[in-house]
Symmetry: C2
Subunit: 194 residues, 2 copies
DNA sequence: ACAAACTTTCAGAAGATTCTGAAAGCCTCA
DNA sequence: TGAGGCTTTCAGAATCTTCTGAAAGTTTGT
């Protein structure tokens, strides 16, 4: 029947359009995840299509060069956000996105902590050490500010550690618990005494 | 006494060097905070020196142009990370960094949620709505993936809301509680039964 | 060993972001 | 009203990031 065939085509193109919109929306979050726009888009594409895709399909869909696709996909594999999939009977390499969004968060946290948080903590400790012996009131206050910042970054670092150590399920659980906890503290603050 | 004068100078320059190192370290985190390098550096400078500084002092210390300093400081004020300070008897404008690191985190979260999370949620909901009527198994699965992502981003959004609503003190408290909670879940997972 | 099929690399090009500096704008005080 | 002191603006310059495409590299099958 012609009508069904037409419908199928319409359905297909509607889905493709939705995928494109998702890819675009996700691409705008690239900065927030700390990856390039194209990395975010390629990840979004693989996530939303749900099935493994090869380099050519990604190139075509995202309108990017082969070189760019290659480097982008490799970077995503390095980040642990997608994985290589081999299909028997096909020499091409396929890539599939992690399907669990919480596992995805874990991978993101792990990489960013490694790249950003750890080096910062090292630098702050170095500064603190080399500043420790300077005498005088201004130096004291400088150290106080440095220590406040160290405490802050340290706290964030510990949270990141804990979250990274969790499985996807635990992470989801902890997140929901955190929402509840925050509600509790909020009620506490608004409600009554110490 | 000459010796004391010498010492004072040495102390002064050691402190300046430490400040510079701090500024540099903080500048490298710019990407993580979602601000430009110069914004991060200017903020770091104002934070670590502890006292209000005027545009000329920031320009000189950071070796940037007047125009850049002006725009950077204004942006920091917009983000709520620093505030304008007027000194009586001085026509220059001074800027002082928020002193409480937790309040700083709150300001950061508020801005980034507004700029990044909210638009993403709107876009995802739109896609979901426009995709709702598409029939067929592939569309079903597409919606399932979209919903998983919506649930995830929604959870993050709720946490951000709660954190933004908290005062600096509550935020610190909640963070420490979270570390404890994570420890608890961790022990739970490793330890025993459901 | 060779060829076909596919992937990776990287120098230079393109594009995006950030910065400069000079001119315009805005107060304040005389 | 106007001169001085300070701040803001913004077009073009400089810089940094990302992308392209062709050549080199790799793997698989015969």
């Amino acid at each position: 029947m012609r009508r069904i065939s037409n419908d199928s085509e319409a359905v297909r193109s509607a889905l493709l359009a939705a995928e494109d919109r998702f890819v675009q929306a996700w691409g705008q979050m690239a900065g927030a995840w700390g990856v390039s726009r194209t990395m975010a888009e390629a990840h979004a594409l693989l996530y939303i299509v749900g099935e493994p895709r090869n380099t050519d399909e990604v190139m075509e869909r995202l309108r990017i060069s082969r070189g760019n696709a290659s480097m982008t996909l490799r970077a995503l594999v390095d980040w642990g956000l997608i994985s290589r999939v081999h299909k028997r009977g096909d020499r091409k390499e396929y890539f599939a996105a992690e399907r669990d969004v919480w596992a995805m968060l874990g991978a993101l946290l792990r990489e960013r902590k490694k790249r950003e948080l750890n080096p910062l903590l090292v630098a702050l400790h170095e500064i603190r050490d080399e500043t420790g012996a300077i005498p005088g009131e201004p130096a004291e206050q400088h150290r106080a500010r440095l220590d406040a910042m160290l405490g802050f970054i340290g706290a964030i670092d510990r949270i990141a550690d804990r979250m990274i150590a969790m499985s996807a399920g635990e992470l989801r659980e902890a997140t929901h618990a955190l929402t509840a906890l925050a509600d509790g503290l909020d009620a506490h603050a608004k409600g009554g005494a110490s």
